[in-house]
Symmetry: C2
Subunit: 218 residues, 2 copies
Amino acid sequence: MSRAQPTTDAATAAREEILQAAAELFTDLGYALTSIDAIAERLGATKGRVYYYFKSKADIFFDIQRAAMARLMAEVEPIARSTLGPADKLRGMAEAHLGMLLADLPIQKVSVQGLERYLFHSSGYRYVNELREINQLRDTYEQIFAEVIDQGAREGVFSDMPPRLLTKPFFGALNWVTVWYRPRKLQDAQSNRMIVETLVSFAMQGIQKEPDHEPKSG
Amino acid sequence: MSRAQPTTDAATAAREEILQAAAELFTDLGYALTSIDAIAERLGATKGRVYYYFKSKADIFFDIQRAAMARLMAEVEPIARSTLGPADKLRGMAEAHLGMLLADLPIQKVSVQGLERYLFHSSGYRYVNELREINQLRDTYEQIFAEVIDQGAREGVFSDMPPRLLTKPFFGALNWVTVWYRPRKLQDAQSNRMIVETLVSFAMQGIQKEPDHEPKSG
DNA sequence: AAATTAGCATACTGATTGGTATGTTGATCT
DNA sequence: AGATCAACATACCAATCAGTATGCTAATTT
């Protein structure tokens, strides 16, 4: 089998450990400034280990994206499939989404911000397929939210602006957490609950139908 | 005067041109992957020109940040000083803020996303002062919004969550535009108005006081 | 117990790039 | 009209780093 993707549990765990370390460095330094040597050093190892499990730096990057999207999807899709009404369903999805961002911050941070352009423009068209794959995943994920928003709009509880446009500030209010949030040593559980509560409430309010300013009559 | 910052109009224009080109490349490639040669090439020049006006790549980066914050502040502060009520004032500030993001996209994009960490962690403590300066500017700017939100909360029209926390999804809904927006060749004026309208309305609704779910009585 | 191989470490290379040192030239001053 | 200098261009260097080639060792297989 030469040296394709290893499939044993041990190999999967080893890959996961590398992805985690790489994600932390990517979020601190950015993709370009993160050297393979630095990733290896964080694991107490050397380049040899990294290149044994991944064939290139870009390969690591794209695997982080796939992992991030897969985890989000696994949490959110079941809620989207449920029989809840649009408002409760969307709230549940938002809580799951934001909860995953905070629980898996380094990897989600790499994924959620638009870092792909680095590779896209810099290395010409070498990674076109991978970029399209990731964009496809993200698009599908966003579409799940857009459909719930659309249904809510048709039922008259959500704003009737184009659903695809409404997903932008909706995700913005939530995803922006990856820009400003810094994990503290203590007091995380409670303050995280408050963050989730505040951001999700904000996003849900934002998407609500605008009340008439002057209700002239019934 | 050796070679400190030039102060003539021509020199200011030359610096501005470099900042613009650098900002466009930074947003496409990221800081690390943008070479000084590439910046110069975009201007039809060579390194010599760039290093005549800026002493280092980091110097360019920080000047972009200063310019971005100065322009936002110039648009928003007059509105904050006006005598409008909290709701109208905040809406005006949001429109001015978002309008400036779209009008000055490359430079604002570099500023608004959290790209500072690249330099901070990578180059040790060499740019601590500049980073503190930029963080200070951003903090002051955010504080202007927080005060309006606080006033609105005291008057009972805005949510009574901590104002500093509320600014996060508020800016998130607006600033996220720098992540997803791609300028088109045509049809910009009208679609931009719709974007501003949708995002600002979303943000304003999000910050509103939650209506009681079951209004028991009058 | 000999052979093989998985799981790394070590050594090396070519390409890129930030920064500097040194030209070059047209304009301005004297 | 010579001197000066602003505004660049050119040439060069030292450091960094992705990727490769090879070496080593403990486990597993035979």
